[in-house]
């Protein structure tokens, strides 16, 4: 596997704990969320635009806290209400004790019975995909205080409104994730490469490159991944076909612009 192909794989967008980059802002959010989880809150709302790192953060929290606390993650929304209830039951009690026809009301009763005995935290990723009725039920479950929910939502005007309507009275903590600054972009690119021991490639990115990357991606981590993936795809092509074109110790802005053209950030 060529060097540039390997580099492409670093920037494939995937939600893995290993992909978590400890940027200044993300560390701040991480600590804030961890702190909130420790508090006796009913619900925590985590929202932000797609690609701002909500899923990675939730995964990181789940990875770090699952051993110490009763923290569980539902990364893919379960649309079926019964399935969802059953899943929650497994978080609270052993699966063997679960009644065969567990209804929502039964589950609420169980939660109320466990109120002072057990507390768990359930992380709900992509919560905007849950139906309104299910969200309403989640809200009522949180009232039992047996389960604390961390709801991760995409922030759109409509979804923001839904979030407010459903959780306004119950949400004690709101964390909004935003696109990174130019400094975050630089740190993100550098750290991603350094973690994979690509020090010489990390050094090839100069200030101008980062400015350009930030300009095209607006500091959105998913877009940064996409852009750098395409960039290294282009580098891979030149390495195979025209190696003289990529000689040098710096990343050429020309290839970043070509990547942006390919991804449609800019038009010719």
């Amino acid at each position: 596997m060529s060097k540039y192909k390997d580099l492409q794989s670093i920037f494939i967008d995937r939600i893995e704990v290993s992909q978590y980059i400890g940027l200044d802002t993300s560390i701040l959010f991480y600590n804030k969320l961890l702190e909130s989880i420790q508090k006796p809150l009913k619900m925590i709302l985590l929202y932000g635009k797609p690609g701002t790192g909500k899923s990675v953060l939730i995964n990181k929290i789940y990875h770090d806290a699952k051993d110490r606390r009763n923290v569980f993650l539902i990364s893919t929304p379960i649309q079926n209400e019964t399935e969802f209830i059953k899943k929650l039951y497994t978080f609270l009690l052993p699966e063997s004790t679960m009644p065969e026809d567990l209804s929502y009301n039964q589950f609420i009763d169980i939660c109320n019975a466990l109120r002072d005995k057990k507390h768990i935290t359930v992380l709900l990723d992509e919560a905007q995909l849950y139906s309104s009725s299910l969200m309403e039920k989640i809200r009522l479950i949180s009232d039992t205080r047996a389960i604390k929910f961390v709801v991760s939502l995409h922030k759109t005007e409509k979804e923001d409104l839904i979030a407010k309507e459903h959780f306004q009275s119950r949400i004690w903590e709101t964390i909004e994730l935003k696109n990174g600054t130019i400094h975050d972009t630089a740190m993100y690119v550098q750290k991603k490469l350094i973690i994979q021991n690509y020090f010489e490639i990390a050094n090839m990115f100069h200030k101008g490159n980062i400015k350009l990357i930030h300009k095209f991606t607006k500091g959105n981590y998913r877009e940064i991944n996409k852009l750098l993936f395409t960039l290294f795809e282009i580098y891979d092509y030149y390495e195979t076909n025209k190696p003289s074109k990529i000689s040098g110790t710096k990343i050429k802005n020309r290839y970043i612009e070509m990547s942006a053209l390919k991804l449609g950030y800019i038009n010719a």
């Binding site: 795809e233 282009i234 092509y237 030149y238 076909n241 020309r254 612009e257 070509m258 053209l261 390919k262 800019i266 038009n267 010719a268």
Partner: protein, 298 residues
């Protein structure tokens, strides 16, 4: 699979598009810079030309001064001779001085004509000339009195006729006969000196003004031409042009005054008085009244 060639083409297009505004701005800047440099060159050329004109004028003045100083000494000699002898020959000297006076009026008129022409042709050049003349103005009066005594200081009177033209014009307008008959001999000498300075531009001035009048049909220009002819003593022409001015603008008092004056000169005093009265019936004018009074009193 990447289509690198297509991407490269697109990138080139993108770069051109990106550079367009900068190229446009730089071209604009370059053009403005070129324009500014050219303009400033023109300006400097103009300034140089003006300076050159000034120098030329100064040289001319210097040459005139020499001639004038010679002439002034000659004139003073003849003057003293004529006064000291007081013989019948004094009549001839009087005739001479009268002639000189006539010359003077002509010179004044000419210098004024030339001024006007310059103003109309090129205002910048005119400004420079006037400036030059003004710088000499304050020195002219005290030195002119000593003109007959020392040839060196006699340089100054040359400028006086040109600077004093307007005043003298006004004087002459007020009292026409006086300026023609009673001429101070010393002053006549000075005016005679100014001849050298101004005669160069006089020939075509009236022709030019008439040409301009034919183009513009300006009543003020017509009365100016009339006045010029009047000053030259061409009263018939003056009468003709006063009528021309009057036909274009009957309310223009100067055309009436010139008509009257020219008629007086041509011996038609009654016509002049009649015209002034007609004018006063319709308009009120202090100048016309005073002229009418002076004509009626004689």
């Amino acid at each position: 699979m990447l289509e690198i060639e297509k991407l490269e083409k697109e990138w080139r297009k993108y770069k051109i598009k990106q550079l367009k505004p900068y190229v446009f701005i730089s071209i604009l800047l370059a053009l403005s810079a070129i324009f500014l440099t050219l303009y400033s060159k023109d300006a400097t050329k103009l300034v140089q030309q003006i300076a050159f004109n000034d120098e030329g004028a100064k040289k001319e003045v210097a040459v005139d001064e020499k001639e004038m100083s010679k002439e002034s000494t000659e004139a003073t000699e003849s003057e003293t001779k004529s006064y000291s002898s007081q013989t019948p020959s004094s009549n001839t000297s009087e005739e001479k001085t009268a002639k000189i006076a006539e010359d003077k009026t002509e010179i004044d008129l000419d210098s004024r004509d030339s001024k006007k022409e310059e103003k109309e042709v090129d205002s910048l050049a005119l400004k420079a000339d006037t400036g030059f003349l003004e710088t000499f103005a304050p020195q002219s009066t005290p030195v002119s009195s000593k003109a007959s005594n020392s040839p060196k200081k006699a340089i100054q009177p040359v400028q006086r006729p040109t600077t004093d033209t307007s005043n003298r014009f006004a004087q002459e307008m007020k009292d026409e006969t006086k300026t023609e008959n009673t001429v101070d001999s010393e002053r006549a000498v000075k005016e005679h000196n100014s001849l050298v300075l101004t005669t160069t531009k006089t020939n075509n001035t009236l022709e030019y003004l008439i040409k301009r009048f034919n183009e513009k049909r300006d009543p003020k220009l017509a009365s100016y031409i009339s006045r010029s002819y009047y000053k030259k003593g061409k009263y018939k022409e003056a009468l003709k042009w006063s009528i021309e001015a009057n036909s274009l603008d009957p309310s223009n008092e100067e055309s009436w005054i010139l008509f009257a004056k020219a008629n007086v000169k041509l011996g038609n005093r009654e016509d002049a008085i009649q015209a002034l009265k007609v004018y006063l019936n319709q308009y009120s004018s202090r100048n016309v009244k005073s002229l009418l009074n002076s004509l009626e009193s004689k």
